[in-house]
Structure formats: structure tokens, C-alpha cells
């Protein structure tokens, strides 16, 4: 009797362990599947149409020209500009929250910023569409076009700010307070110790925030397609309808089929490779910060 009960418990233990192991392996499996499907569909297409064609500057589906070079450039432009704005303002805000704000306000503000980090990107896109695009068109744009790199960058900068603030605030908080006190004891003012001692000491965490926001900006779709315009041309100015890689995928998604649809998949492969490189940078920085 006893033995049978033990047998049952033993089997149950083994089965459950197997199940948990399967669950744990699922994430590897899923990642493998994603890579497999993307590359299986995208890479043969790139070699079929030719690398020169695919990375060329002409996107003209009727001529079977699938050049995404302009879109890569547009993606890089938007990402660089939005990160520059977002990181400058976000980092300064984090520094302000770190030392120059009343402690009680910091807690409330952090809660609010965490809440804002959860707002759907499509809301930011809508904000850009109904507020920023008309504003730029009426007041700032020299050619009467509100869509384009500047609107997309502003929207993205506002969108990534909460992330930048909370990651770099964590980095600043992780600096031992003895650094700050030591600087004060040596006669530095409060501001000097923050800017000269604490910020450099939190460098790797802040860099991680930058890389994270670059990753989010380059992969963001919905907020961008609502304000970017969408012409697949080479970006020449801030106020001009252009198209990023993500916008290319989302705009063609519901309409195209056959070869053009596969071209979108191939665009996705390029985007995937870009973000993977950024992820590697991010984890290197994060681990570097720990040591």
C-alpha cells in the first residue's frame, strides 16, 4: 500500500518537473521560432531580388524595386533626434528628481511617471496627429507640411521620457551616498557634487537608459505611422513626409500580398537585426554596471 502511494507521488513529481521544464524551455523555443520564420522568409527574398536592389534607394512596387535604404536612413534620423531630445530632457529631469526636489514630491512624481510609462503608444501617436502635426504645420513649418521627422521625433521623445527617467534615476540612486558626502566634505557645492561626482559615477546606467530608449524609438510603430507621412523618399529636411522601416511594414501590411508582402518581412528582418544589436549593447552595459 505504502509503496504504491510513494510510486504515485514519485511519478507526479517527475511529471510536474517535466512540465515546468517545458514551460521554461518555451521561451527559447519561441525565440527560435521567431528567428526561424523571419529569416526563412526574409533572407531568401533579399538574395532573390538582389542585395543591391534591396538596399537601394528606390521603393517602387510596380517595377519590383524594393529598396529600403531611404527608410533605414529615416529610421536612423528619427531615432537619433528623438533620443537626443528625450535623453537631454529625461536625464535632466532625473537629476532634478534625484537631488533638487523635495523628497515628498519625488514619490508622487515617480508614481505618476510610472503610470505614464504604461500609456499605449497609439495615444502618443494620436496626440501627435491632432496636436503636434497641426501646430508644426501652422506655425513652424516653412513648407506647410506638419508630418515628418520633427513631429515623429517629438512624439517619440515624449514617449520614451518616462523610461529614461526611471532607468537613469535608478542608476543615480545606486551610486553610494558616500561619494556625494565625500564631495561635500571636500568643499564642493551641492550642484558640483551632483554633476561632477554622481552623474559620472552613474555613467553606465545612464548609457543603458540611452540604449534602451534607442531600441524603443527604432522599433516603435504606431506612434510613428500616425505622424510620419509615409512617402518612401530620402529624408532631406525636418518637415517632409518620409517613411521609417516600421511604418513601411505597418502601412503595407493590410494591403500587400505576394512579393511585396515578403519585402515587408525582409524589412522586418533588417529591423530585427538592428534591435538585436542594440539589445546586446544594452545587456553588456547593464552587466558592466553591476561589476
Amino acid at each position: 500500500m505504502m509503496n504504491k502511494a510513494y510510486q504515485f507521488i514519485r511519478t507526479r513529481e517527475a511529471v510536474m518537473r517535466g512540465l515546468f521544464l517545458f514551460c521554461a524551455s518555451f521561451s527559447i523555443l519561441a525565440l527560435g521560432c521567431i528567428c526561424f520564420f523571419l529569416f526563412l522568409n526574409g533572407v531568401p527574398f533579399i538574395t532573390k531580388v538582389g542585395i543591391a536592389n534591396f538596399f537601394g534607394t528606390e521603393w517602387h512596387l510596380a517595377n519590383a524595386s524594393y529598396g529600403i535604404f531611404n527608410m533605414i536612413v529615416a529610421s536612423i534620423y528619427v531615432t537619433a533626434l528623438s533620443t537626443a531630445i528625450g535623453v537631454t530632457v529625461g536625464l535632466m529631469t532625473a537629476i532634478c528628481l534625484f537631488k533638487f526636489c523635495p523628497k515628498k514630491a519625488v514619490f508622487a512624481l515617480r508614481q505618476m511617471i510610472n503610470l505614464l510609462a504604461g500609456i499605449p503608444s497609439v495615444i502618443y501617436g494620436l496626440f501627435g496627429l491632432i496636436i503636434i502635426v497641426p501646430f508644426l504645420r501652422d506655425y513652424l513649418s516653412p513648407n506647410g507640411v506638419g508630418y515628418g521627422i520633427l513631429s515623429a521625433s517629438i512624439v517619440l521623445a515624449v514617449m520614451v521620457m518616462p523610461t529614461i527617467i526611471s532607468v537613469s534615476l535608478d542608476a543615480l540612486n545606486a551610486v553610494p551616498s558616500s561619494y556625494y558626502e565625500g564631495a561635500l566634505a571636500l568643499g564642493a557645492t551641492k550642484e558640483q557634487s551632483v554633476f561632477k561626482i554622481i552623474v559620472p559615477a552613474a555613467k553606465s546606467g545612464i548609457l543603458a537608459a540611452v540604449v534602451l530608449s534607442i531600441g524603443r524609438a527604432i522599433g516603435e510603430t504606431m506612434a510613428v505611422i500616425m505622424v510620419i507621412g509615409g512617402s518612401p523618399v530620402m529624408p532631406k529636411g525636418l518637415f517632409q513626409s518620409v517613411r521609417t522601416m516600421t511604418a513601411n511594414i505597418a502601412m503595407g501590411a493590410t494591403e500587400l500580398s505576394g512579393d511585396p508582402a515578403t519585402a515587408l518581412v525582409a524589412t522586418g528582418v533588417v529591423l530585427f537585426v538592428f534591435t538585436m544589436l542594440l539589445n546586446i549593447c544594452f545587456s553588456l552595459l547593464k552587466n558592466g554596471g553591476k561589476q
Binding site: 514551460c23 521554461a24 520564420f37 499605449p120 554633476f195 522599433g219 510603430t221 516600421t246 530585427f272 534591435t275
Partner: protein, 283 residues
């Protein structure tokens, strides 16, 4: 001379401080502006036709509400068991420093870093092209479940690690098996943390739209009949209305979405705080 240079330096850092203040104000203002403008433009246009009417001449978000509900159900029902199981295996069966754990961690981090549009392409290739599901809610839901897996794994793992070792040892000392210990001691202790992680995951599903544009077809005017029919979600409706000449309805839908997401997040924060307090009492 020296003191003059010194004073100048002090002044320079004062200026930097005021710049930081300016940036801070700018940042808070811009974030408030996003919310205020969406509310101002959207609130007057929320009416019963938009919320519950049938989609005719005037747009309605009823199909989107149903679609969103379906997507949340499918993706959480899929991802919760797998994510919690994964976290259990990592914390209860493996040493935290083992190689397998770090490999899984890398995989989970990588999944978290993939842009949602790439998930969309994946879902499109698997469900629309390879499996011939056409655009369907189930395809979108399953794709989303992979996307929210990292959220669930990470925070469940954290809350499992926070359960004191002594509880497990006590249970083992009473002769309880490992599986029994996990289900009747460890999981109940970590329950509120796990629920918080599931709520956060629901928040992700509700706010996601780039995945869905490629997998569920953005059919805004028809009620989904079953899980295999194409559909729409709230976030997708915001995009659709916004880019097809209904900015007012888009803002109104945006308000509904905003209220939903913010209340989900507040719920998660409140539960998370409760969980944190419980930890203090235990430790």
C-alpha cells in the same frame, strides 16, 4: 583671482541646476499636455452610440471592446501557465547561478526587446500564411501571449524569490513533497505578486496595436463571431479612426483606452504595494 574663478565655477553649476529644473518642468508639462489634450478632445464625444451602438453611419467601438476582451482572455490564458511554470522551474528547481537559468534569462530578455511589429510579422507568417487561419483573433492572441511572456516570467520569478526559504524548509520537514510544497506553500505566498504581474500583462495586451495590425485584420465595423474571425481592438480603433478621418472619435476612443489602462496600472500598483507590506511582515 582664485576666488573669482571659484565663484564662476559655482555659478556655472547653479546654472546647470536651473537648466535641470527647466527640463523637469518641460517634461512634466509635456506629459500632462498629452493627457489633457486627449481628454479635452475626446470627452465631449463619448456617447452611447460610440460605446454601445451598432456600427452604421456613426462609428462604434463595441466590436473593439469585444475584440479586446477576447484578446486579453486568449493571451493571458496561454501565457499565464507557461510563464508561471517557467518561473517556478527557474526558482524552485534550479540554482540561481546555474547556466540553464542564465540562458533562459537571456532568451526572456531578448523576447522583451523584440519590437512589437516584428512579433506582428511573426504572427502573420505563422497564422495567416503558414497555418491559413486568415486574419483571426486567435492568431493575434497567441502572438500577444508570446509577447507578454517576459513580463509574467520576470515578475513572477521576483515574487517567488521573495518567499522566505524557511517556509519551504518547514514544509519539507513535515514530509511534504516538492510539488505539494510549491502548490500549497510557495504559490499562495507569492499570489499577490503573481496577480500583479498578470494585471501588468493585461495592460500590455490592451495597449498593444502594432502586433494586431498584422494579425487580426483591423475589421472595425463587424462584431467578431468567434475566435477565428477577424476583429479589432480598442488601440487599433484609435489608429483606424485617427488615420481615416474621425479624429474626434479617435480621441474619444483614446479616452476610453486611457481610463482602462490607467485603472489597470493603478490596480497593479495597489496590489504590488500590499504585496510589499506582506513581505515586511514575513521577513
Amino acid at each position: 583671482m582664485k576666488s573669482k574663478a571659484h565663484n564662476r565655477q559655482i555659478l556655472r553649476y547653479r546654472i546647470a541646476k536651473w537648466l535641470a529644473f527647466t527640463a523637469f518642468v518641460l517634461c512634466i508639462l509635456s506629459l500632462i499636455a498629452v493627457l489633457t489634450f486627449i481628454l479635452i478632445r475626446g470627452l465631449p464625444h463619448i456617447n452611447s452610440q460610440l460605446l454601445f451602438g451598432n456600427y452604421g453611419k456613426e462609428p462604434s467601438i463595441k466590436p473593439a471592446l469585444v475584440g479586446t476582451l477576447y484578446l486579453v482572455l486568449i493571451s493571458v490564458l496561454m501565457a499565464a501557465p507557461i510563464g508561471i511554470g517557467c518561473a517556478i522551474f527557474l526558482t524552485e528547481y534550479m540554482k540561481t547561478s546555474s547556466r540553464f537559468v542564465s540562458i533562459i534569462h537571456v532568451a526572456v530578455e531578448t523576447l522583451a526587446g523584440i519590437p512589437s511589429i516584428v512579433y506582428g510579422i511573426f504572427g502573420y507568417l505563422v497564422f495567416v500564411v503558414a497555418l491559413h487561419f486568415k486574419y483571426s483573433l486567435i492568431g493575434g492572441g497567441i502572438t500577444l501571449s508570446i509577447m507578454i511572456l517576459p513580463v509574467i516570467v520576470r515578475s513572477t520569478e521576483e515574487s517567488l524569490l521573495a518567499v522566505p526559504r524557511s517556509l519551504r524548509e518547514g514544509s519539507f520537514a513535515l514530509g511534504t513533497s516538492k510539488v505539494r510544497t510549491i502548490f500549497s506553500v510557495v504559490l499562495p505566498c507569492a499570489a499577490s505578486g503573481i496577480v500583479t504581474s498578470l494585471i501588468l500583462a493585461i495592460g500590455r495586451v490592451v495597449s498593444e496595436s502594432a502586433v494586431l495590425i498584422l494579425t487580426i485584420g483591423m475589421v472595425v465595423n463587424k462584431m467578431p463571431e468567434s475566435l477565428t474571425s477577424p476583429g479589432t481592438s480598442l488601440a487599433l480603433d484609435v489608429y483606424y479612426f485617427g488615420s481615416h478621418g474621425y479624429p474626434e472619435q479617435a480621441a474619444a476612443t483614446g479616452v476610453v483606452l486611457l481610463i482602462l489602462v490607467v485603472s489597470i496600472n493603478i490596480l497593479a500598483t495597489v496590489l504590488g504595494k500590499k504585496f510589499g507590506k506582506g513581505e515586511l511582515a514575513n521577513g
